[in-house]
Amino acid sequence: MIRLRPGPPATVADLHRAQQLAGLLRGELERVRAAAVAWRNGLGGLLVALVGFSLIRGRTDVTTLAAGWGALVGVLLLAALAAGVAGALALLRAAHGRLTVTPVAALPPVPLGDHLEAVAAVRSLRMGVGLVLLCTALLVAAVGVTWYAPARPATAAVSSPAVGSLPSAR
């Protein structure tokens, strides 16, 4: 239970802080959404470029790698893809809201409902950014393995010059 007691005489500074807070609360959800959309656009583009590039790159390179290393590249790419998809979903969630229906009776009053949604959106935004960065790190690791892992002995004569020249070409 919360009990209310009269506070000290209010000052103009109190008034201005309260006005600022009320204004921030009213626009909060819009600001979080705008930030999420900006992240989604930026990181989403990066993600698509990286996934596309790495899958094509990885495919051709994996066949030239020693058996265990090829499997490692596959696992890394799969993990990168999973992190990327989860990150993209979290960013979408932050930018556009949850895809669930809330019973009207359970809804808190409007400014508070927006605040709760904004808090949830900030959480999704942070998670999405983290997952996209994780996805990027995994992709870099996978591509790195295709460059530096030992080549398969039988096909070494054909493909090792190409594999060997890649790091210096970049």
Partner: protein, 104 residues
């Protein structure tokens, strides 16, 4: 809480406070607790319109807020028109402070 109807000629907007506002609001406002916030609703001590204030612990923003002094400052946030109000603001301009005490 005052039960009389709001005055018929609109009260002009004025950023004013009075110790009586805090006393009246402390007696008349109803607190409602939610997971991350407290919603206070009652009648504004100045204009007598219904007013609802949401108090939260954190707001998403880019710069750092001034630390809270412990008490909360409430504004009239009524939906009515008060002539002379600057754009972007709500209510009649009345403000006061309250302590929120959580009772076990």
């Amino acid at each position: 809480m005052r039960d009389d109807d709001p005055v018929s000629s609109p009260l002009p907007y004025a950023e004013v406070t009075d110790e009586a506002y805090a006393t009246q609001a402390a007696a008349g406002f109803q607190p409602q607790e939610f997971e991350f916030a407290v919603v206070l609703s009652g009648r504004c001590p100045r204009c007598a319109h219904p007013s609802t204030t949401t108090l939260v612990d954190e707001v998403y923003r880019k710069d750092v807020a001034a630390p809270d002094p412990g008490y909360r400052t409430l504004l009239c946030e009524c939906e009515a028109e008060h002539p002379g109000r600057p754009a972007g603001l709500r209510g009649c301009g009345a403000y006061w402070t309250l302590w929120l005490e959580v009772e076990a």
